[in-house]
């Protein structure tokens, strides 16, 4: 059969790309099985009136009721607003803090390795442990924060951190920033180290001060890294569940209820999996649009 009609000669230049397809096939099939299929099921469920979903049950009639209900629900728009607020506040704070600490530990000073370790440490702490630590810090009756604020005279009576909508939002945002900024810092540090020293040396010769070097050398060279990092942080906030769920459960008064918390609550709290799928699909679309917008604003070399 060698050299027969059905032999596949991958050595032939015209068929060399086939090898690529063959090698990629297992990964593509795996991705299709674990990402695309559930996605398809989710989209399909969002167009059915389903309580608890089962794959072996016959398909329910097609309906757009879930989406109609979703877009007229004040809870959905509130969840969108809370998610947006968290994205803007947490992403900005993470980027500022991450960039600041990266610039700091990029300098040569005694104990730099230790400083780098401390900067990166929150990233290594599991999310649930971080949440437990912050839950204790902000405990209304026995927490550290109330004690510090009272001792410093900032407040004259304790703040009920998890019973006040504004305070609860602040606690969630603070925890997310603490957990998220090291990632930005590590990425920025890698970016900073890739900028040739010659640029800074030349700028110094030309009389540029530290601020001018930051604006005219560091900033443009870091833009590609910062762009990708910002998108990744933003997507992390979109999908993050455990920090909010363990700290506040989305409350009080839905002040910390993001789209991911709302999806979970509808699916597993109220057993409305069709409606929850609709929220999930809309969240996915928002994520794709937001990432696309961010990417389109990024420089070409991103």
């Amino acid at each position: 059969m060698a050299g027969g009609r059905f032999s596949l000669d991958l050595a032939r230049p015209s068929r060399q790309h086939w090898l690529g397809y063959i090698l990629l096939a297992p990964a593509v099939l795996l991705i299709a099985a674990i990402i695309i299929y559930p996605l398809f099921v989710s989209v399909d469920l969002s167009f059915q009136n389903v309580g608890i979903a089962r794959l072996d049950q016959p398909r329910r009639p097609f309906t757009t009721a879930n989406y109609e209900r979703l877009f007229t629900s004040p809870d959905f728009w509130n969840a969108c607003w809370v998610t947006l607020k968290l994205i803007v506040i947490v992403t900005s704070a993470c980027c500022l803090l991450g960039l600041g600490t990266a610039l700091l530990v990029n300098n040569r000073f005694k104990g730099r390795s230790l400083a780098r370790l401390f900067v990166a440490m929150p990233w290594a702490v599991p999310e649930v442990i971080a949440v437990v630590i912050f839950a204790w810090i902000f405990d209304s009756s026995f927490g550290l924060m109330n004690w510090i604020f009272l001792s410093l005279g900032f407040i004259d009576k304790t703040i009920n951190w998890f019973s006040d909508p504004t305070a609860a939002f602040a606690v969630v945002a603070t925890t997310m920033v603490w957990k998220g900024y090291p990632f930005v810092s590590i990425m920025c540090l890698a970016g900073l180290q890739s900028i040739p020293d010659d640029y800074y040396a030349a700028a110094r010769v030309d009389g540029a001060n530290a601020w001018q070097r930051l604006i005219h050398i560091t900033r443009p060279n870091l833009r590609p890294v910062l762009g990708v990092t910002t998108i990744l942080v933003m997507l992390w906030i979109f999908r993050d569940f455990s920090i909010i769920y363990v700290l506040t459960g989305g409350g009080p008064l839905k002040a910390t209820q993001t789209l991911s918390i709302m999806t979970y609550e509808q699916a597993f709290g109220f057993f409305r999996m069709g409606y929850a799928s609709a929220i999930g699909v809309v969240t996915l679309i928002i994520c794709v649009i937001a990432a696309k917008l961010m990417m389109s604003r990024a420089p070409e070399n991103l």
């Binding site: 309580g51 608890i52 979903a53 089962r54 794959l55 072996d56 405990d139 209304s140 009756s141 026995f142 109330n146 004690w147 009272l150 001792s151 004259d156 009576k157 304790t158 009920n160 951190w161 998890f162 019973s163 006040d164 909508p165 459960g249 409350g251 009080p252 008064l253 839905k254 609550e265 597993f268 709290g269 109220f270 057993f271």
Partner: protein
């Protein structure tokens, strides 16, 4: 060479002989899955272990695979298992969540098994709640009444007698809430309630006050009855306790119980499960248990045992054997002793429990008082929508406290929202 060949032949014969004996034995091993949140709970966990041991002794070759899932993740896990077509054969659920599973047809109708085994469920506490669409889909494992525990030393220090009604209770709670170390932060509380966490527990805590004020979420026909003077009074009481921080804020039920057991909270209304926690606390010698100052006491069904419907017939028979052991007179008697709780069976002997748990008679009395008054944590007519209803009540109560709203207006809002939930 000859010896070597001989040893190979002998070895082969021995292996064959062993396989003919061992393989059928291996093939006979059957496993029943049993998922529960009570596995590590002192008392009741030990009781489940004894039921499993008895079942495995009576059914050689059948093992019970007992897995613990935390209460917080329980509904999600069970839903996923059932929806994925791999439910645990022995189904253990909270009494406020089994309705969703029964409504999907995932719980077996137990009436043929009850009939054939002759299990007498007359007088079985809370069993009526297990009826779903006219069929018994579960067996109630606990119907409880709340007890009142107080720190005698803290009350004596303030010259307060144990309260016997709402007015005395709230006056005592006010007096006992204080900052004992002068750092400006109250560190001792009159009473303790969960105000953070799920809607179900929040609803239960709030009901201590609404029931005493004469309020009910729904009437016997399932009609929503929140906008009534009694419910408004109950909501006003809850607001008074929480807004004035007579209870520590933002704690879970477990944390509140531990604070009480450690002597940071003076008075606590809770179910029979509080006692094992008290015994492990720093203030165990200061704590006394009495009848609740509220009438009727909060009570109700707690957890159920059932059978997955989509399992083979021979497995169903085994699951029923397990249920039969758990509901037998002997094990119901053991339940009272080991779990220090009121067994649902009227035939359980409680002499041993009375010796082990000094306040056992009180547990029985409060359970009976709650049962007589028709009290349950799950409002009639809102069983399927319970989670959503409880969440709504929690949010509106939080709004009342945060925005300092009039309980009258809050009751009207709750009424409208509950009716809307019921109509879905």
């Amino acid at each position: 060479m000859r010896n070597s060949l001989k040893s190979w032949v002998l070895g082969g014969v021995a292996a064959l002989a062993l396989s003919t004996v061992a393989l059928p034995a291996l093939a006979q091993t059957k496993t029943l899955k049993f998922v529960s949140w009570q596995k590590d709970e002192r008392g009741v966990g030990d009781w489940w272990a004894s039921v499993i041991k008895e079942f495995e002794t009576k059914n050689p070759g059948v093992k019970v695979e007992w897995t613990k899932v935390e209460r917080g993740a329980y509904a999600d896990t069970m839903t996923t298992l059932f929806a994925g077509g791999k439910p645990p054969e022995i189904v253990h659920l909270a009494s406020f969540e089994f309705q969703k599973f029964a409504d999907q047809g995932w719980l077996e109708d137990l009436s043929p098994y009850i009939k054939s085994s002759g299990l007498n469920l007359d007088g079985w506490a809370g069993q009526s709640s297990c009826q779903w669409k006219g069929k018994p889909v579960c067996i109630m494992m606990l119907y409880f009444g709340n007890i009142f525990a107080y720190n005698e030393e803290m009350l004596k220090k303030e010259g307060i007698a144990p309260p016997t009604n709402w007015a005395e209770y709230v006056a005592a709670a006010r007096k006992l809430t204080k900052d004992t170390n002068g750092d400006g932060i109250p560190d001792q509380f009159g009473t303790g309630h969960e105000t953070k966490g799920g809607g179900g527990q929040y609803l239960s805590e709030l009901m201590n006050y609404t029931l005493d004020a004469g309020g009910r979420w729904t009437d016997n026909n399932g009609k929503v009855t929140i906008n009534t003077p009694q419910m408004i009074e109950g909501l006003a009481r809850w607001k008074e306790v929480v807004k004035n921080s007579l209870t520590p804020r933002d704690l879970t039920a477990g944390e509140t119980r531990q604070m009480f057991a450690d002597g940071r909270i003076a008075m606590k209304l809770d179910g029979p499960w509080l006692y094992p926690i008290i015994l492990r606390g720093k203030a165990k010698d200061q704590i006394k248990i009495a009848a609740p100052p509220f009438n009727p006491p909060l009570g109700g069904s707690s957890n159920i045992l059932g059978m997955a419907s989509e399992i083979p017939a021979d497995t169903k028979k085994l699951v029923w054997d397990f249920i039969a052991i758990a509901t037998s007179d002997k094990f119901q008697t053991d339940y009272a002793t080991l779990a220090a709780s009121t067994p649902p069976s009227p035939r359980a002997k409680t002499d041993g429990a009375k010796a082990a748990t000094p306040h056992f008679d009180l547990l029985v009395q409060t359970a009976q008082a709650a049962s007589k008054a028709g009290v349950d944590r799950i409002p009639k007519g809102l069983e399927i929508q319970y989670n959503e209803f409880a969440k709504m009540i929690m949010e509106e109560s939080q709004r009342m406290i945060i925005q300092d709203l009039d309980p009258k207006a809050v009751a009207a809002t709750m009424q409208a929202k509950a009716e809307a939930i019921q109509k879905q």
